[in-house]
């Protein structure tokens, strides 16, 4: 636990986030403005003119994107393109990185995320996050899920907590596998189970948005299929943004796909369009594995 900062939403973030590639903006004449449909009518998250800097280095360049209610948006792009950096702006995870500066307008239900009076603790309860490596607390399975609701004051009585724990584990598709060993450590579960436990932990505090940063990259195909199935079910109640290196995964789980390249948002379109007939040559080059 020493190396982790544990925030009130029951999320952990590595103190020195190992998975954040320091994306850098480069000039590429082929990128002018985002093509496709970056905006939507029923936006849960509205992001306009986002720039992100790590010290002097610009990692995100003028990105505008909406994420709709009950929508899954997949963010794809080569390593260092800024997709994780962008994702981490949404629940101010970048605040934990020294020298990181975010400019532009981000709103959640039309309320500014970077407003002066915004407390990141309740913000991160509304905008949950699931990381690349499953990171359960070194506590029991039960405590992993119950921790967030407890510190947020969502529930205090044992009966209420029991209900939240069971519901969250059920929705994460893990209940049947763990219901008889809730008192055992979460770290004793398999990788796929740990990741579903982290998802249960994220949804235990009733978030509105779930951010997923390569949630399946450490999982085998069966565990991956379970998570993908789960994402589809979660969409009924949540808004989901997922960063993934697996193009097939983006194609399977998302309604819209956003392609990032060197800190720019190159194209956003219906996932079907992106994978059958992308509009931008850079998107085409990336998803077909060509030299871009």
């Amino acid at each position: 636990m020493n190396t982790m900062t544990l925030d009130a939403a029951g999320q952990t973030a590595p103190a020195q986030p190992e998975s954040v590639e320091k994306a850098t903006v480069d000039t590429d004449t082929r990128v002018t403005e985002t093509v496709g449909q970056p905006f939507c009518d029923d936006a849960k998250l509205r992001m306009r003119g986002i720039n992100v800097f790590y010290g002097e280095t610009q990692a995100i360049n003028d990105v505008s994107l909406d994420i709709g209610r009950n929508e899954v948006v997949a963010m794809i792009g080569p390593s260092g393109c800024g997709k994780s950096t962008f994702l981490r702006c949404i629940n101010r995870m970048n605040d934990t990185i020294e020298g990181c500066r975010v400019e532009g307008d981000l709103t959640l239900d039309d309320e500014p995320i970077y407003g002066p009076r915004v407390d990141v603790v309740p913000l991160r309860a509304r905008v949950g996050m699931v990381f690349q490596k499953p990171n359960p607390f070194p506590k029991s399975i039960y405590e992993n899920v119950a921790y967030g609701p407890k510190i947020h004051g969502i529930a205090s009585r044992r009966a209420e907590l029991d209900e939240i724990v069971e519901n969250s584990l059920r929705r994460a598709g893990l209940w049947n596998e763990v219901k008889d060993r809730l008192d055992q450590p979460g770290t004793g579960l398999s990788g796929g189970q740990q990741q579903r436990l982290c998802i249960a932990r994220a949804i235990a505090v009733s978030p509105e948005v779930i951010l997923m940063d390569e949630p399946c990259s450490a999982l085998d195909p069966i565990a991956t299929a379970r998570i993908e199935e789960l994402i589809d079910e979660l969409r009924e109640n949540y808004t989901i943004a997922i960063v993934t290196h697996s193009m097939q995964q983006a194609a399977r789980v998302s309604q819209r796909t956003a392609y990032f390249h060197l800190g720019h948002l190159v194209e956003v379109n219906d996932t079907e369009t992106v994978f059958t007939n992308p509009q931008h040559e850079l998107t085409e080059a990336y998803i077909t594995g060509r030299f871009g």
């Binding site: 097939q248 194609a251 059958t276 007939n277 998803i287 077909t288 594995g289 030299f291």
Partner: protein, 233 residues
């Protein structure tokens, strides 16, 4: 967007797609030859040439199966997307059309043999030559447009099918009139009618190939009269 199938990071993938396309075009060349030979065997009452057409037909069937298998393997191994996916899909569809063109050539060859046995038809050879030359040109042009990813040329060729259909209907009317006048010729003129029917179908298949050129390059599915999809793409 320009079509490049030789710029994948995986060189093997480049080669897979290239050889898929080459195999399909080879099949196209063979099928085109079959149509020419079948029509010639009929026009010249050359049953030997007609027999040859029938023998080669089996080879075309095998090629269609080989192309299907090759395309299936690419899908399984590479999960192609975007233009790569459209390339694979278009090859599968074109291979099916080419196989059917091969079947039609086979039918014409059978008519040629029948006409050699029963004696030539008193009518219809001019019409056959005329329509055959139009559909052979369409077939050539459609495969050529595919090779060059040339949408404009594909659209031009596609439009030629309307004239072929009209010429076919005119020829059919003439043959029917003739059969009514001279019922003794019915069985021979019917062979001509079946041949005209096969040629008209070949025109349809060439049109289908043109539609696949548009699909490959523009990502627009214009089959079954949905040419407005091209504007949306």
């Amino acid at each position: 967007m320009e079509m490049h199938f030789d710029q994948h990071i995986s060189r093997q993938f480049n080669e897979d797609l290239e050889s898929l396309k080459t195999e399909m075009l080879e099949m196209g060349g063979l099928v085109t030859r079959q149509v020419a030979d079948a029509v010639e065997s009929l026009a010249n009452a050359d049953s030997e040439l007609a027999e040859k057409v029938l023998r080669i037909e089996e080879d075309i069937d095998r090629r269609e199966m080989a192309l299907d298998e090759h395309a299936t393997l690419i899908i399984a191994k590479r999960q192609p997307a975007a233009s790569d996916l459209r390339m694979v899909m278009s090859v599968i569809r074109i291979a099916r059309d080419l196989e059917r063109v091969g079947d039609e050539a086979g039918k014409i060859a059978k008519m040629a043999i029948a006409l050699t046995d029963e004696g030539t038809s008193p009518r219809g050879y001019t019409e056959i030559r005329h329509i055959a030359s139009a559909v052979r040109r369409m077939l050539n042009e459609s495969l050529d447009a595919y090779t060059r990813f040339d949408v404009q040329s594909a659209m031009n060729t596609l439009a030629e099918d309307e004239q072929v259909d009209m010429d076919y209907r005119t020829a059919v009317r003439e043959m029917i009139t003739y059969m009514m006048e001279d019922p003794r010729s019915i069985s021979r003129v019917m062979n001509v009618l079946w041949t005209l029917r096969s040629l008209e179908r070949i025109g349809d298949h060439a049109k289908n190939i043109c539609e696949q050129v548009v699909y490959l390059v523009e990502g627009a599915d214009i089959r079954h009269g949905h040419e407005d999809n091209l504007k949306k793409a």
